[in-house]
């Protein structure tokens, strides 16, 4: 299969006043296949968010570049949906209006917007809250709304920046299952950033482990667990072995 997203020698250098410039990410190379679910895990400062923002087109690399379907990324675009850790819902819009935001920009007619939005609102289980403002929603509901909003514009790729990082453990597990269910239905290429090793292994086809100072790719771990992922898999010995392997790579990169 050809690569959907290709990172080629991506380096991002930041200048800091009074200090030597530092590389948030250095010579980063990665190919993500069409329909693949890749998680990126690493300590803080390893440049995983920078890599994602470069792919989103929100940060311009200092050198190197990213291609999506062979075309060079020059800026943000609706074919690459982004889900932020802080939800980034428009607080003055209702759940439905938030989900319709991108559809309106894409020029969909009113009834069409409504139909598509309601479909994805239903998929994330927020139908009863379609008319609610974000301030009345819990964190988990806000993130589900953000996921529906990202899906609604029909992106080929979903870039998720620690989307469940601010949620409690129980809600996080529920949203992981929901996200996997959505992914298996609507097959998109997903790049998912996390600092949670369990989450990284549970969701992914492949786990990309990064190392810090300078931020760089450390190694890639293939996750050969079957889909659909279930609680049994989460509790299996195979999962534990993979989890331990990734854990050691993250916390003891010199040895692993």
């Amino acid at each position: 299969m050809t690569a959907k997203i290709s990172f080629r020698n991506v380096t991002k250098t930041y200048a800091v006043a009074g200090q030597a410039p530092f590389n948030a990410i250095e010579d980063f190379n990665l190919d993500v296949a069409d329909g693949e679910f890749v998680t990126v895990v690493g300590p803080s400062g390893c440049g995983k968010s920078t890599a994602l923002n470069v792919a989103a087109g929100l940060v311009r690399p200092s050198s190197g570049g990213i291609t999506v379907d062979g075309a060079r990324v020059e800026g943000p675009g609706p074919e690459r949906g982004v889900i932020f850790q802080q939800y980034a819902l428009f607080p003055w819009l209702t759940v439905r209006q938030n989900v319709e935001f991108g559809l309106r920009i894409a020029g969909h007619r009113r009834d069409e917007r409504r139909r598509i939005a309601d479909h994805f609102i239903d998929l994330v289980g927020l139908t009863d809250f379609a008319g609610a403002l974000p301030k009345t929603l819990s964190g988990g509901m806000k993130q589900r709304c953000a996921i529906a909003r990202a899906y609604a514009v029909n992106p080929k790729i979903l870039l998720m920046d620690e989307p469940f990082g601010a949620l409690d453990a129980l809600t996080r597990v529920q949203l992981q299952d929901q996200l996997l269910a959505m992914w298996s239905r609507e097959r998109r290429t997903v790049v998912f950033i996390t600092h949670d090793v369990d989450e990284a292994v549970y969701l992914a086809n492949r786990v990309v482990v990064m190392a810090a100072r300078p931020g760089r790719l450390h190694r890639v771990v293939d996750v050969d667990l079957p889909f659909p992922r279930t609680e049994d898999i989460r509790l299996s010995a195979a999962f534990a072995a993979l989890r331990n392997e990734v854990w050691r790579s993250v916390y003891h990169p010199a040895l692993n």
Partner: protein, 296 residues
Amino acid sequence: MTLAASDRPDPAAFRRPRLTRSAEGKTALAPAPLEDTAGNAAQRSLLDRRAGRLAINVLAVVAGILIWGLFTTEGMVGLPTPLEVGRQAVVQAKNGLLWSDAAASLARVSSGFLLGIAVAIPIGFLMGWYRLARAVIEPYVQFFRTIPPLAIIPLAIVTLGIEETPKIFVIFLSSFLSSVVATYQGVVNVDKTLINAARVLGAGDFTIFRRVVVPASLPYIMVGVRIGLGSSWATVVAAELIAAQSGLGFRMQQAQLYYDLPTIFVSLISIGVLGLLMDRVVLAIDGFLTAWQEKL
């Protein structure tokens, strides 16, 4: 992907999240008051209701007037009694002076204030959105902000004459200066994540401005509008004290010449009541426009 193909939701996939929805919904939508203890239950029930709070407001005002009456009728303080002030208000209301004065002041405030915010909001957006505009305009705004608008009055009278123009101009200046900074701050403080969220959904600069920057800066703008209204009101009275032939400030200034304390009180109370009413109107508009905000 065609959406029609996936219109049938898969019941198995989302069974679990559906259960959490109601659980989450309960906690999110019906927060229990934190201070819910038996000790202050009675007090809370009164303060919890709008009518209850209003009743306490009215009681406080009545008590204030009673205390005022007590001190002044005993002759302890050389001020008019509430009754004298009330009688004077009736006299002025009957001969129409109260209404014409209030109308004159209101007309000046409204025209100066509305003109001020009508110019301040676009200029504030310009300053917040374009760094070049900010660099050009900011020194002027910051400089004129340090000059009290009243200090402009002598210059305004000399250059703009003694009619309404100099007064309206000074009021315009004071409301403009307070709203322009608030608007500009509002634009600068828009959450960058929201702008990025719009950008990745395909929004261009104009859409981001119209659909993200404008609504996101509204709470700041409304604060500026409220401050602008307050300073307009303060400025009109002062301007009328210095140079006017009508208005509540002018009436006070006249009364001062004749040691007519009840008239001064009538004017003062009118100024306070009108200012309060205008502030409530702005507050109601603010509440309507920014109801989406998470307020404490």
